[in-house]
Symmetry: C2
Subunit: 219 residues, 2 copies
DNA sequence: TGTCTAATTATGCAACTGTATAATAACGGC
DNA sequence: GCCGTTATTATACAGTTGCATAATTAGACA
């Protein structure tokens, strides 16, 4: 009846770090950030709480790493459309980007839940605020480039500040639809947000982003 | 040197409740929701922690009440424009609504901080989720009515589902601009969000919501 | 002024938090 | 097969949290 010590496997340091980040994301997504204690995250990762301190300076450091990873995943999955549609027209690439940001896996209750959990810490400043600013800028700049190309393709030339405002506005619609769709999934149709997003961005830019331009093939 | 007991004043139960809600909102806005402990809120309200239990079933109940109050304040301040512009054209009332939602005090870092703090709890379900759904529906329905009036005024008749999508889209731009402006205040000009919002909503609906239609008088 | 009510304070507690430290054992190199 | 390194576990601790309970006292009413 001697207390048995837990058996374990040693895995590479990088894999262990990633496992802990994945565990943190899973706990936040499923039970909320309040439940993401060191003990809960460690349990999810299949290790004991002390190990977190061995790989991260603090719980906040792990949280920061998880946030950076989540945002990186989201932007990669959204921007990834471009690689696929490199041969298409600029309008089609813009449409693909908009739609990708408003369809799973980018647009999902889980993704929004994660983002919301981090939001509080983003506002408190520090490393996470920097990550937020960087992510936002990267996303919007990318969108701005696509808009510029699409407008140029249509033979329209716009001043830099007008272009900037277009990017801010289009980014806002996408963000708003993404957020509302994630918060109240049952209030909207399956692909409704993507369609509304395309129609809205098209109307704001005076371009035709009709569905037949979108790459809807399943990979 | 006997330990002195804190002196206090009795105030009406309603005032005490309101003071506690105000204290909760103040603490969340200034120090984040993680710092909104019963002790911190009580201290801010000038009472001892135990009194919270006397007026609210639990800390969560107080949090719910504070959330409902905050959202109620925001919608009232946004919709309040209508009363002022009752004599104006439908387009002007729509423009006033959009601009009101994208200018202080509705659009402010503090308002967004508060909203963000609550967001986590909204997603966990319960009373706060209901409040969220109600608030969202109320806001969007109001917006939809204004859009319908403005379109009718312009002699345009639209099907109900088209109208619904317009409301979802316009609501999304407003939400997105409101959010981004609150998260990164330094990234945008003073009245930039309101102007972008008006231009975007106008473009999406095919209406002219130019600045001269907006009621910009100071009260 | 005296008395009653309940609003308010004071105290205590059990659960949980993040993290530091020491003990242990897995696994690669010899 | 042994050994050293260090990844991993076990344990401990001080601080904090929400809340329940008992003790007080402010203020209304007679």
């Amino acid at each position: 009846m001697t207390p048995e010590r837990k058996t374990f496997r040693r895995i590479g340091p990088d894999q262990r770090r990633e496992a802990m980040i994945a565990a943190m994301l899973a706990v936040i997504a499923e039970e909320g950030i309040a439940a993401a204690t060191t003990r809960a995250v460690a349990a999810r990762a299949g290790v004991t709480p002390g190990l977190i301190g061995h790989y991260f300076d603090s719980k906040d450091a792990l949280l920061s790493a998880a946030y950076a990873q989540h945002m990186s995943d989201l932007t990669r999955e959204t921007c990834g459309q471009d690689a696929d549609g490199q041969g298409d027209s600029a309008a089609a690439r813009l449409a693909g980007f908009v739609a990708a940001g408003l369809r799973p896996p980018v647009a999902s209750a889980q993704a929004v839940t994660l983002w919301a959990g981090f939001l509080t810490h983003v506002q408190r400043g520090g490393r996470m605020r920097e990550t937020h600013a960087e992510t936002y800028a990267e996303f919007r700049d990318h969108l701005q480039g696509l808009i510029a190309d699409a407008l140029a393709e249509a033979g329209r030339k716009v001043a830099p500040d007008v272009l900037r405002r277009h990017a801010i506005a289009c980014n806002a619609v996408i963000d708003g639809l993404w957020l509302e769709g994630g918060l109240l999934p049952e209030a909207f149709g399956a692909d409704e947000m993507a369609q509304i997003g395309l129609a809205s961005v098209g109307a704001m830019l005076g371009l035709d982003l009709t569905p037949d331009l979108i790459d809807t093939r399943e990979d």
